[in-house]
């Protein structure tokens, strides 16, 4: 009778499995430490970004009141009408009010002028947060003293000290102090128009509030305790909208701001996640080799009575423990790294970020560490299931026993996890699928290139080459070679960095000024019609050209296709975009298209034929948002006068060009007599001429606003540099992870290299020859990985240029001249650095070491 006892399960429990995992792991700690390092950086990158984003979001929410300075604001770009005033009265009246506009400021005694944002404030604004000044008392008494607070950077740049004077329009005021921060002014854009705060009572006296000026009216309120701002906003905003005013609560504003930064954070997180993925691929490859080395031990364990499940679990626990330790180490590193971000991003952050530790992020980091390492190690780990105990008696081939299904399931699990992670970040399943597809395509392309290269070498093996280059090529095919994983690691890292470089190029190219052409670099706004000749004369006196003299007429949409705006606004089914109904359009009239415009539909009309509605041309985005086609009627309210028009043509406008573009263009012969102002443009050759022209213009025409586009460009470049620095920082994690994967891969195949070099040396090869063989091997790997990464980035940048930025992409040579050789040298350095000990030792020493 068979002994049924033998059917009982093994008695060793979880405790023993854990003990075995630790025992075995202790002896393999060096190898396992490298696997762990592969994920530490990826986790650190994800955790640092995630934690910083959370901190930023929380800080914005916490500081929302001091960001706005009040509980809510009612604002408008025109003087509020009766209805808005009565609403404000019913709310108890504003606690403070402000009129703001951009203007040129002069500094008597100094030969400079500067574009500034004038904020005329009345009342005890801000009610939350504070106006920070130097001296601090200036913020408290500038109102009584009738003085101005001037942006601290401008004071420093122009050498202005408290007590000096500032001239705005017709008013000259003493500067009470340097303005360091004020609610409602973002430091990001203040370098174009730095803020100047003056008492509200002086605004009128400046003489700058006139027709055509772009004036902002802000009314600040503090709310009754317990007021539900969300409901309040929902109730009041539509009414205010209809009266060309707007309500912003501190909550909605901070949420909007938070979302903007959150999106950027999410993008960075995906970049960081790619570093983590790269590390995980490194783990998968290393575990594959690791398990191969463990096959005999597993067979022995099975011989001694361990079940399939037990031997599988021992190694699974081991990997999960590595993931746990890696997750903890990565999380700690990430939490440390995020302390750097506020320093790096100082100028582009809206609030002072106080770093705190978020337990959700710590949990995320550790969980990611365990999940990712287990998931990616699962397929190679499954090899333990197929090890026969017979392996103790003779070598067996276990690979063939695996089923394709298990591999497919593991792969599906991995992609599902990547998708879920992306979905968690992006909250959009379409983008998440694109992200997964992008990953699959990039990785497959790189893997394809590596495979193709290997096949090509096999097929066209250069038999005529000398021994050293031939041997180094052969090394790429050695059993358990790491060619594929190395090409992937090097390729993805290079791909990320060079794509980011090209993208920055694309963005800058789009914003840059065309130096060759006669494109203007100085724009003069708010030129009154009666000033245009004198202004043009002043420009010409400096021997500068007047490139354009563009008339601007402000108007609002009154009706679309015969339906009044008020009716469309109330129609909840209307597809018309809200901004069309509210916006004060600045339109122009001319007889021809300009270089940034292409006619898409209809016919261009140069001058008004004089009968019927006026034929106008609209931009394609206006047509889409207003739901109008060629032939549709649109009527405008031109400062109280109704004007009926018909859409005669639709234009595609390149808004990214640094020039004045318009949604609505009238033919000549209609608006010439309407109230209007002018925009003049010129091109100044250098900063000195620019300063001189600005001075003489401001002296004679204090109402002008002058924008030096070169300054704008410098700012854009500064912002892009900051952002790209951060993106590069994240991509750097990928490169670092790539390096660790590289070191891991080199170490994993170390024994094979030892065996080979010992054999070669026994046969009489010199150290120098062995060194050359290895150097060439890493050179091939470096070239293959880095070149495929850069080529892949060329394709992706081309696609980005075509689909996202809608501009043609001309690659720069920098990635080829700097990145390519840099990465190749790095690969060679790491490869040789890790093999040097082997090469330099005498064969016997190496053999002994190998034995042990």
């Amino acid at each position: 009778m068979p002994d049924t006892n033998s059917r009982n399960s093994s008695k060793a429990g979880t405790g023993w499995l854990l003990k075995m995992a630790i025992r075995d792991g202790k002896a393999s700690s060096k190898k396992l430490a490298l696997f762990m390092a592969s994920i530490v950086l990826g986790i650190a990158a994800v955790v640092s970004i995630q934690s910083f984003s959370n901190n930023l979001k929380e800080n914005i929410a916490l500081q929302s009141k001091s960001l706005m300075g009040a509980d809510y604001i009612i604002d408008s770009d025109q003087e509020p009408n009766e209805k808005v005033l009565s609403i404000m009265d019913s709310l108890g009246g504003p606690d403070a009010r402000e009129i703001s506009f951009a203007s040129m400021a002069a500094f008597p005694g100094k030969e400079v002028t500067k574009l500034v944002r004038v904020r005329g404030i009345e009342g005890n604004f801000p009610f939350y947060g504070e106006i920070e000044t130097e001296p601090a008392a200036a913020a408290r008494d500038y109102q009584q003293k009738g003085a101005a607070l001037l942006d601290a950077t401008v004071m420093l740049q122009l050498g202005i000290v408290p007590g000096d004077e500032i001239k705005i329009g017709k008013v000259t005021l003493p500067v009470a102090g340097a303005l360091k921060s004020v609610p409602g002014s973002s430091s990001l854009f203040s370098s174009i128009a730095p803020p100047v705060i003056i008492p509200h009572s002086f605004i009128e006296k400046t003489g700058l509030v006139q027709v055509g000026s772009r004036i902002g009216y802000n009314y600040y309120f503090t709310a009754e305790p317990g007021l539900d701002l969300e409901k309040f906003d929902q109730k009041l905003d539509p009414v205010l909208d209809a009266n060309k005013a707007d309500l912003d609560t501190h909550k909605s504003t901070s949420e909007r701001l938070g979302r903007r930064y959150e999106n950027f954070g999410k993008f960075l997180n995906l970049v960081a996640f790619i570093a983590l993925l790269l590390g995980c691929i490194g783990i998968a490859s290393a575990i594959h080799i690791y398990i191969k080395e463990k096959l005999r031990s597993i067979a022995v364990l099975k011989c001694l009575g361990a079940t399939k499940k037990q031997s599988f679990l021992i190694y699974l626990i081991q990997i999960a423990m590595i993931g746990l330790i890696g997750g903890i180490a990565g999380t700690l590193l990430g939490l440390g790294l995020q302390q750097l971000f506020p320093l790096l991003l100082e100028d582009i952050l809206p609030v002072d970020v106080q770093i705190s530790f978020d337990f959700r992020v710590i949990f995320l980091g550790i969980l990611l560490g365990i999940l990712m390492s287990v998931l990616f190690a699962l397929y190679p780990l499954m090899g333990t299931l197929y090890v026969s105990p017979l392996h103790t008696l003779r070598a067996q081939d276990n690979e063939s026993r695996r089923t394709g299904l298990s591999g497919f399931l593991v792969l599906a699990g991995i992609f599902l996890f990547i998708f879920l992670f992306a979905f968690w970040l992006l909250e959009d399943w379409k983008y998440s699928i694109f992200f997964v597809l992008g990953i699959i395509i990039s990785f497959s392309l790189l893997a394809g290139v590596a495979n193709l290269f290997m096949k090509a070498i096999k097929k066209y093996f250069p038999n005529s080459w000398g021994f050293i280059p031939r041997q180094s090529l052969l090394n790429l095919f050695r059993p358990q070679n790491q060619t594929l994983i190395l090409v992937l690691a090097i390729g993805i890292g290079t791909f990320l960095i060079s794509t980011l470089y090209f993208t920055k190029d694309l963005l800058l190219a789009q914003a840059s000024l065309d130096e060759q052409a006669k494109s203007p670099n100085m724009i003069l706004l708010d030129v009154q019609t009666d000033q245009q000749l004198a202004v043009a004369e002043t420009i010409k006196e400096q021997e500068l050209p007047v490139l354009e003299n563009i008339p601007i007429v402000s108007m609002r949409v009154e009706s679309l296709k015969g339906r009044p705006v008020s009716e469309i606004r109330e129609d909840s089914t209307s597809q018309v975009n809200g901004w069309i109904l509210q916006h004060e359009f600045r339109t122009t009239y001319r007889d021809s298209l300009i270089s940034s415009e292409v006619l898409e539909e209809g016919e261009w009309t140069a001058s008004n034929p004089g009968t019927g509605p006026v034929p106008i041309s609209v931009s394609n985005n206006f047509a889409e948002d207003a739901q109008v086609k060629v032939g549709d009627e649109v009527s405008f309210n031109v400062q109280g006068v109704l004007l009926n028009t018909v859409v005669q043509s639709i234009r595609a406008v390149d808004w990214s060009r640094m020039q004045l573009n318009f949604s609505i263009v009238f033919p000549t012969g209609v608006l010439e007599e309407a109230p209007q102002f002018r925009v003049l443009t010129t091109k100044v050759p250098n900063e000195k001429t620019s300063a001189l022209l600005q001075q003489s213009l401001v002296q004679s025409f204090p109402n002008l606003t002058i924008i030096d586009l070169r300054q704008v460009l410098t700012l854009i470049e500064k912002i892009l540099n900051k952002i790209s620095w951060l993106i590069n920082f994240m991509a750097f994690f990928s490169i670092l992870t790539g390096i660790i994967v590289l070191i891991g891969a080199v170490r994993t195949s170390k024994y094979q290299r030892i065996r080979e070099s010992v054999l070669l040396r026994t046969l009489g090869a010199k150290s120098e020859q062995i060194l050359k063989i290895l150097a060439l091997e890493y050179l091939y790997l470096g070239i293959l990985g880095a070149l495929s990464g850069i080529l892949l980035s060329l394709i992706s940048s081309q696609l980005l240029g075509y689909f996202v930025f809608e501009t043609s992409f001309v690659p720069s040579w920098v990635p080829f001249l700097v990145l390519l050789p840099g990465i190749i040298l790095l690969v060679m350095g790491i490869g040789l650095g890790n093999s040097l000990g082997v090469i330099m030792s005498p064969p016997l020493v190496v053999l002994r070491k190998q034995m042990s």
């Binding site: 093994s10 060793a12 023993w16 393999s28 099975k302 399939k308 105990p389």
Partner: protein
């Protein structure tokens, strides 16, 4: 005495490309409890395959194997593993110690697998018995070949097996060390009253057993009483 191993009409073949290679054919024999038994034959005669089948490391194509009262043909891999843990011991030509475990850990694994709470204590006693009391915390790579095989012997006897299979136990050792290991093996075997099955091509070692089965070309040539 009762039969501990009964092999009837055993056949085993492997596929080599499109060809079928018969390694063992029509093998039948019985081994009694406490008996010592040697399987001898030239290289390629099927000795190791036979040992693997008898110990339940592999499945025969046909025929039956009853080991310690259990018909092992019908058991799956895990059931056979548990049977091995309870009733079978092994000694291999190349020792097959787990390189990442110390001598003590290697010996205690079979006991731990059974859930024996005194595993470490018992393993220490065994290691002292084979003369390695002072090297219990050494890893296999820190031991000589003879020492490794002594650890393997301690491990083989640690779970007090009813039957012990030894595959060329002296094959990787020099003559002198080999002799010492054989002496130790026989001593431990007598002490524990375990059935011993040795696969060897060393006739001197085979003659130390009670019965010899001679294989050639996968078939039993003769069975000799020593």
């Amino acid at each position: 005495m009762a039969k501990i191993l009964s092999v009837q009409n055993l056949k085993k073949s492997y596929h080599s490309g499109s060809k079928e290679l018969t390694v063992l054919e029509d093998i039948s024999f019985d081994i009694q409890e406490r008996e010592t038994f040697a399987i001898v034959g030239p290289s390629g005669s099927g000795k190791t395959t036979l040992l693997g089948l008898c110990a339940g490391l592999d499945q025969p194509d046909s025929g039956s194997i009853e080991l310690c009262g259990t018909l092992i043909n019908g058991l799956n891999e895990d059931q056979r593993a548990i049977l091995r843990n309870k009733k079978v011991g092994f000694v291999f030509q190349d020792f097959q110690l787990i390189p990442t475990l110390t001598a003590l850990e290697n010996v205690s694994v079979p006991l731990e697998l059974r859930g024996d709470k005194n595993a470490v204590k018992e393993a220490k006693v065994l290691l002292e018995k084979v003369g390695l009391g002072d090297r219990i915390h050494h890893y296999p790579s820190q031991l000589s070949g003879g020492e490794q095989q002594r650890v393997a012997l301690a491990r083989a006897f640690s779970n007090r097996p009813e039957i012990l299979f030894a595959d060329e136990p002296t094959g990787n050792l020099d003559e002198e060390t080999g002799k010492k290991v054989v002496e130790l093996l026989i001593e431990l075997n007598e002490e524990s009253g375990t059935t011993l099955v040795i696969v060897t091509h060393d006739m001197e070692l085979a003659r130390k057993t009670q019965r010899i089965l001679r294989l050639k070309g996968g078939k039993v040539m003769e069975t000799l009483n020593v």
